[in-house]
Symmetry: C2
Subunit: 365 residues, 2 copies
């Protein structure tokens, strides 16, 4: 069968949505289905002549999703929200999403087991349906209050500003849960720069799945997201809805796995600071356009295409080693090093080695 | 595979649960699965040696369900609530239930289309998870208020008392939505006895699926439940949960169909009264033990086993015709009539023809 995915312009290129799509494509291929990625306008034009039972919606914005869901419902097509909300926001809709509620509970319970009971929830975006689930779950827990939630919004919408706001009061907390790992990495650097010791002074954990969370000198404790599984189950759900006319909607929750990293273990700390961010602002507002967040995703794009040798290679370059020494340390030839670097630069989208190293050094040193 | 259903004592014999089970048994048979109906204690004993991924819960009580869900979760078995709540009451649970929210909206919108905007919601039981969904949906609608909800609770918990409460203020309304068709049938009789004309003075509609709703002189407008489909999807869900360890929970909503009957159409009315109820009270409280509700279910049990000839036969006996005349009208022999009556009596669980007729006459005359 054909499975339609209605996509917010540009959303398919963002980190998490790309992973959803990856899982969806693999499952569609496995089942012999075809997958059509459509703009909302194209979808409406196509559905005028050939109306499917349902269509999936891929978007990073709660507002965009709401509009697309309403529009699809109005023409009699059941919307399947990929990675979306658990709250009944839309009258007709099916959902496939991470079990953020349960994951939030698990993180809180884990922290309390170590007597870290004064917990903040950091970088919650009110335009993110999934962040709203985390917030609801957080506030439903005993002793977690609205004033412990730090929102990623405001006049400028910059992650750095959100960090600054938390830094002012961070002494009131002994643990922080970050809504996503991009925010977690930025916050960790800023806290460390301000002399806050992680995990001694503050346990830090996050929701996430990025390679960057584990490649730094300090791995993040996290509720690990399984984004490709969301894509896979989206395809399964579209098949099910098309086959069973008696079903008016389904919600499928995907399990998060709790991964324990350095940021909640009592290990000695090496302090480090976040380099000055020189990236130009990529337009108005929005999490994915935030300069410090973009930097994280640039690093992530590189890291997720790197193997262990690539990462060691980058670390050694950052430390200032010459190619000759690196070749000896890694037991490879200098031409291998040059070949690997060329590949990494091409993946990064940058022009030069120095630009790549500039982005990576804050995360790999 | 083996599918375990943990059952509240006696629940499997109640009207709706029996239909869920019917659907579940048919689907299990189709898939080659076996279905084990267990008490909570038996389930716990069995799961000590052989733990399934999930077990379904069959219960008419919200409180019983909550306890069973907690108990199963505690031993690491995912509870699948059959016909249960949509609200996230339980931390770990999957749900298969009718889409009562959407059905409530459809009933309200249908009534408003006919300019019946002053709507009451009748016989809502606070111990019923499904009634709570109807209530939530009702109150989320513009101009529907808490004071328009008539609860099936109170000192005696009798449906007749609930009817009386509504009768006192029914002139304030031009439409009533009943939480279930047992309540709807009782209310309809009492309203008619009190001189309220249906549908002229009051549109009446309900959630339901009983044969009794369509066999009376006035068929009920209803959001028709598809209970066997709930059982079927429960089996499908247990299979899915067992197969996919990455899924932490699923909610499946089953579509209700809107059936338009006489109680919202502008037809002439024949008044009739509900006969005095002589059944002994079947113990303390509870919807299924309510004398007037039991009577409805007795009639339902008989009606759902009757074909068109049986129903005509009963109607003619109620009208006082002799077997000789009935035989001529229905073009059957007198021995066929006796044979059919014997079968009906045996299904009813009563001893005599007169007991059967006594129950049926209020619904078939």
């Amino acid at each position: 069968m054909q499975i339609s995915i209605v996509c917010q312009p540009g959303a398919d290129a963002t980190h998490w949505c790309a992973l959803y799509l990856k899982g969806a494509r693999a499952e569609a291929k496995r089942k012999g289905d075809t997958l059509a990625l459509l703009s909302l306008d194209d979808a409406l034009a196509r559905f005028r002549t050939e109306k499917p039972t349902c269509a999936a919606i891929l978007s990073t914005s709660r507002a965009w999703t709401a509009n697309a869901a309403d529009t699809l419902s109005a023409v009699g097509v059941e919307p399947v929200i990929i990675g979306g909300a658990s709250r009944d926001n839309y009258r007709h809709a099916s959902y496939v999403y991470m079990d953020y509620r349960e994951a939030t509970y698990q993180l809180i319970e884990y922290l309390r087991r170590y007597e870290r009971g004064r917990i903040a929830l950091f970088a919650v975006s009110t335009d993110s349906a999934t962040d709203m689930i985390k917030k609801d779950a957080f506030l439903s827990y005993d002793r977690c209050r609205e004033r412990d939630v730090f929102y990623y919004t405001g006049a400028d919408g910059l992650m750095n500003a959100t960090c600054k706001k938390f830094l002012e009061v961070c002494r009131n907390y002994d643990a922080v849960i970050c809504a996503n790992d991009a925010g977690a990495v930025i916050l960790m650097h800023q806290l460390t720069a301000a002399g806050v010791r992680i995990p001694e002074d503050l346990f830090l954990c996050t929701f996430g799945d990025m390679a960057i969370s584990t490649c730094g000198s300090k791995s993040l404790t996290m509720a690990r997201l399984n984004c490709p599984e969301i894509g896979k189950q989206t395809v399964a759900m579209c098949r099910l809805l098309t086959a069973s006319e008696n079903i008016s909607g389904i919600s499928t929750k995907i399990r998060c796995e709790l991964i324990i990293g350095d940021t909640t273990a009592s290990l000695p700390i090496v302090e480090k600071t976040l380099g000055t961010v020189h990236l130009p602002s990529a337009g108005a507002g929005g999490f994915h356009n935030d300069p410090s967040v973009s930097r994280i995703f640039q690093a992530e794009k590189i890291l997720s295409a790197c193997d262990a040798i690539d990462i060691d290679l980058l670390k050694l370059i950052i430390k200032g080693y010459r190619y000759f020494d690196i070749a000896e340390i890694l037991h490879v030839s200098e031409s291998t090093i040059k070949y690997r670097l060329k590949r990494i630069i091409s993946i990064s989208g940058f022009e030069t080695r120095d630009e790549v190293i500039d982005v990576m050094k804050v995360f790999l040193s």
